[in-house]
Assembly symmetry: C2
């Protein structure tokens, strides 16, 4: 669907620039000029009621005066004039319009109203709209640069961006490096065309091998997930708004919910998207996916003119889970023949300052079959370096410290489609993105814990006893507990259970019991039970004065084991995210959790368990017995089933469950249901 | 001392190039040409027995034929000829020599011998040597480029490097950006002049404001520490060889011990060095220290043309511990006057695509007094941007997506000494390095745990009971324990203590008891004691067959509390490193530890405790009582005192001690002493 309608946008036969200007300082001039200078093959119509000719092209008072068919209109008139122009476009039969003009939804309620009006008019005429408030499009293959600055280099990456500047920076870097892009699309306010249409379109575009998408928030997550179901190309995602203040800034900027970062992390995991953390990674990763073949494994040999750069590369490779494996004994002699006499045959292989391009070539041809990747580090002005690399071969090229020779050789390599990275660390990090998931090193910055905003208007919290009873009924193993409405009952149950016990406020009003002193572990005597009960009662009365104290839950202290958290949260638009991690400060400080979007396979559940950094603890740690991870998988499966069968559950947090070698037991839980 | 002797190297009145060549493809030609073309003011003497004139300069058969005084010799002859040349230099009264030639210690034992000979000859003549196997020096202020390629731009950073390529890359970037350097020094094999001399020299050099040092390992840590005691300038350190394979590569490359990364981390902490993780950070951080004023606090305002770039900057700022603080109410109206009408006055402050340089200037002048730093993000081709920034002001400038305008404006800003960063993330990260230590965010990659290589030849391990007795005698609180040479004794003591107990092998042969199943916690009955004892005895006999089983230590199980590790390790050259962290997987997986070199002040000890990421647990966590961190500080103080008073202790590991609100108790320890 997107395909057909977006061809008018990306492959128009004719273009009108509404608001074309004679004044070179104005955007309406620059865009017209760039369309002309980019070599657009079709008809170009400047629209301006006051001019006769602009840049030698006949000018029309209105688009309706254009004698021929117009496929695409690029609109640069002031905001208040845009609805009228779109209406004229409609009457003229224009199929798509790019609205560059700002001052719409991003500028406040008045602008939003204006934008809604534009959408309404466009719909009535069946016109697809890109923007408003955007930096246009640039399609070097068509060719058509309805944007600025003028860049014409053809490449493999389609850059799609909610931010004009992020896209412009990418475009500038790809252009400066002589790699070009397959397309540049600035989405602006996304009043109509959005990432759903565009990813679908460029997934089918034959000039595009990799999609680079920058967003502050998805417009329509369910629709986007459908597109991802059919995605066949690598997609590199830069999603800003990851920290609390970043999220606030993103929400203010886009006037929409930026969404919880953990949801995006789960989305990336599910669909195998490559997530970049910074704009520089966004560039490097897109470049790697577009120009490097995907390695089959993680075995890498570094060949270098610089010992120092080789060590830095090795350090980074270790961090990223690559294997800097020794040179196989059977080829050591063969390698020795072609390296300088005083070079030591090891990995990294330092050819020393005596290295020549030809030596690199010889080493590559003698070692290529023994490694998944060969990292070539030209750490000097190595002349003719470009002649010894093979486009599509298993080399990754790094060039630094080579000054003018470096720049000349890099340009030649880029011309041949061999990407060159400026530092060992950036190259290795980019390369590592191409590895199969299970080969990758464990991330130092794991996914954030979802920040579950509970809207109490439409949901209700179960009390602890209700939550545990619910879980028990669903077949999950909970600790024995009793509800004690008063001190006497609490003491009674504690005696029966035997000390020490735990006391927990049994409230359906308080989501975080510990914040109000509502949890006391290791209560050791009847006297202590009374003191704790009374303290909890008093505190509760202070904080929730209009409700009677709901009493406590009494439970025996669970034996020491491994604390884990398991949970799930249903997001209206993303779907349900399952979460697993070690409990306590592991979640809060180290954020060592794994997440997946439902549905999940059993394999994915094992992945979830094993991908947390602390997973080593399950293998039997410091003389402790190992944990059967099947237990955890069964627990997660149980939670997934609940979320799938009981649509009323919004949030289910088991925090913690205690793991023992052959069982686990849930000791605390929080459930939020829809009313 | 370094000052006087190194002036001959960096400020010579005359230079000879021994091995000068007529062939433009040879280094001996290029270096001579670069000395000439860099504008060296003094006399230049090519030395070559076969040529009459090179580059128009009269050539001499040997340095001894030069009629006048020669301060500096640059030597490019083959390795085997170098000793003779150095001897001639000595007879001629040359004060310093740069030996470019490779094939010395880096090439194997024969080369090492040759190098030793060179050193011996140089010493006998009192000549200081840089190199061999190096890329020379470049001092744009003198000016003198005895290196390659020819770069002449004067700047503020002295780049000192064990790797020619790392230095060349830095030099190239500083040159490409129009910032230049104050000096470039490639140390090569460091047969004489090393980082100790060079840091001392450039700390006093008036053209240098920042020192950037790349090393694979320090040559002489104690001497380097002395230099650091007197350091008055910022020093940015890139130390490669941080991962196991990286360390091995570094050791192979430099033929010396790369040293434990944790030692370098402790050194950086002690002397306030700024440590870079990658070569790109090395550049960015040096640039920031040299060209940005140090902010007084961490309050930052972002002013941007790009909402997206503003959000990315905010995300990074949050990660780095900067405070993206709201715009103070008292200046909101004043800011509103100068921003576009539809701009929202918040932080980040998005001036939208309508922004002009003048708007930036106005906003800066109205907000400057209210923030420690103002981040200006020119995310478009903002003309005249360079006119609204103030050298030495509290702005940090980011420019991206601006294509040719960006490059032109950046060049103008660099000309004025205002550094420009290419992405929001790189700028914010670099800026954050300048913050006072206590303002910085907690690092995601904390220091590595020292890998203590125990050389059993010169040291001995105390058994557990010896270690605990030693610590007790030093006044540290240890858990009660008994030595049980046989099963009967173990059962007897267990009965007296009451079950459960812990059994630990009491060996002075096994450094890691758990590796041989030598620790069993929670032993619950006399029967279990017997079973465990027997299992330990059997296992011990298998692994250490020629020693009788030393018996076990029996101790009661400590009550649950917070496990911490405290330790110290004496390094022959660095001194003693103190270490603190949470126990268990926190050390091994998350490496959440802090380190300091002794001696330490009490303030530093509190810093150590609070800087680990898990420190939040001491504040009373999840309803648990808070821990008095003074307890930990007292414990660390006790360890520091032991290390200072008992020179025989090499390694002291308390792992773990269990912390309670008002006391702590040591339950396991390892001590290694010198014989």
């Amino acid at each position: 669907m997107a395909g057909e309608s977006l061809d008018a946008l990306f492959r128009p036969a004719s273009v009108a620039v509404v608001g074309a200007s004679e004044n070179p300082a104005k955007l309406g001039h620059e865009i017209l000029k760039n369309i002309v200078d980019s070599g657009f093959h079709g008809a170009i119509y400047p629209i301006n009621p006051k001019a006769e000719k602009i840049l030698g092209l006949a000018c029309f008072k209105s688009i309706e005066y254009v004698p021929d068919k117009v496929d695409l209109a690029v609109i640069v008139v002031p905001a208040r004039a845009v609805p009228g122009v779109v209406d004229e476009c409609g009457r003229k039969g224009v199929k798509a319009a790019v609205i560059i003009t700002g001052g719409f939804a991003e500028a406040g309620p008045e602008g939003e109203e204006l934008q809604n009006k534009v959408v309404e008019i466009a719909r009535s005429h069946n016109i697809r709209i890109l923007g408003p408030n955007c930096q246009g499009i640039n399609v070097p293959y068509h060719p058509l640069c309805a944007s600025w600055p003028l860049l014409t280099k053809k490449g493999r990456v389609a850059v799609i961006s909610q931010s004009g500047t992020v896209a412009a920076a990418m475009m500038d870097w790809f252009s400066q490096e002589g790699l070009g892009v397959s397309a540049f699309v600035s989405m602006g306010n996304r009043c109509d065309i959005d990432e759903v249409d565009l990813v679908e379109y460029f997934n089918r575009d034959q000039n595009t091998s990799t999609i680079a998408l920058y967003i502050e928030g998805l417009k329509d997550p369910p629709a986007f997930k459908k597109v991802l179901d059919n995605l066949t190309k690598p997609l590199v995602l830069l999603k800003s708004g990851r920290t609390p203040k970043g999220i606030r800034a993103a929400e203010s900027h886009t006037r929409s919910l930026a969404g919880d970062d953990a949801l995006y992390e789960a989305l990336c995991k599910k669909y195998g998207l490559c997530r970049a953390d910074t704009i520089e990674e966004f560039y490097d990763f897109a470049k790697a996916f577009a120009y490097l073949p995907r390695p089959e494994g993680n075995k890498i040999l570094f060949v270098t003119t610089s010992g120092g750069a080789g060590i830095l590369a090795t350090d980074q490779a270790e961090k990223e889970g690559l294997d800097v494996a020794p040179i196989p004994p059977e080829i050591v002699e063969s390698v020795k023949e072609v390296v300088p006499q005083h070079a030591i045959v090891s990995n990294p292989l330092d050819l020393t300052g005596d290295a020549t391009a030809e030596m690199f070539g010889e080493v590559v041809s003698r070692t290529r079959g023994f490694y998944d990747v060969i990292g070539l580090i030209f750490g000097d002005p190595v002349e003719r370096a470009s002649q010894v690399v093979t486009p599509g071969g298993n080399e990754v090229v790094i060039f630094l410290g080579g000054a003018d020779v470096e720049r000349a050789e890099k340009a030649k390599m880029h011309e041949r489609g061999v990407p060159v990275f400026p530092t060992p660390e950036r190259a290795v990090k980019a390369l590592a993105q191409l590895l199969p998931a299970h080969r990758k090193g464990k991330k130092e910055t794991p996914p954030r814990v979802p920040q579950r905003k509970v809207d109490l208007k439409d949901t209700r919290l179960l009390s602890l006893s209700q939550a545990l009873e619910y879980l028990k009924a669903q077949g999950l193993p909970c600790i024995h507990f009793e509800k004690a409405p008063n001190e006497g009952a609490a003491v009674h149950f504690a005696h029966i259970m035997g000390f020490p016990v735990a006391l927990k406020v049994d409230s359906s009003k308080v989501a975080h019991k510990t914040d109000i002193g509502g949890v006391q572990l290791n209560v050791r005597s009847a006297h202590e039970v009374r003191v704790v009960f009374e303290r909890m009662r008093k505190r509760y009365a202070e904080i929730i004065p209009d409700e009677a104290f709901p009493g406590v839950v009494v439970m025996p202290m669970a034996e020491e084991g491994i604390e884990v958290i398991m949970g799930a949260h249903r997001d209206e638009s993303f779907g349900t995210v399952l979460l697993f991690g070690l409990g306590g400060i592991h979640v809060e400080i180290f954020q060592d959790v794994s997440t997946r979007l439902l549905p999940v396979s059993e394999d994915e559940l094992y992945e979830m368990v094993n991908e947390i950094r602390g997973a080593i603890i399950f293998q039997g740690y410091r003389g402790r017995p190992p944990i059967d991870t099947r237990l955890i998988v069964e627990g997660l499966k149980g939670i997934a089933k609940i979320m799938e069968t009981d649509g009323s559950i919004v949030t289910l947090d088991i925090n913690p469950a205690i793991l023992y070698p052959e069982e686990f037991v849930i000791v605390d839980a929080r459930i939020i249901k829809k009313i």
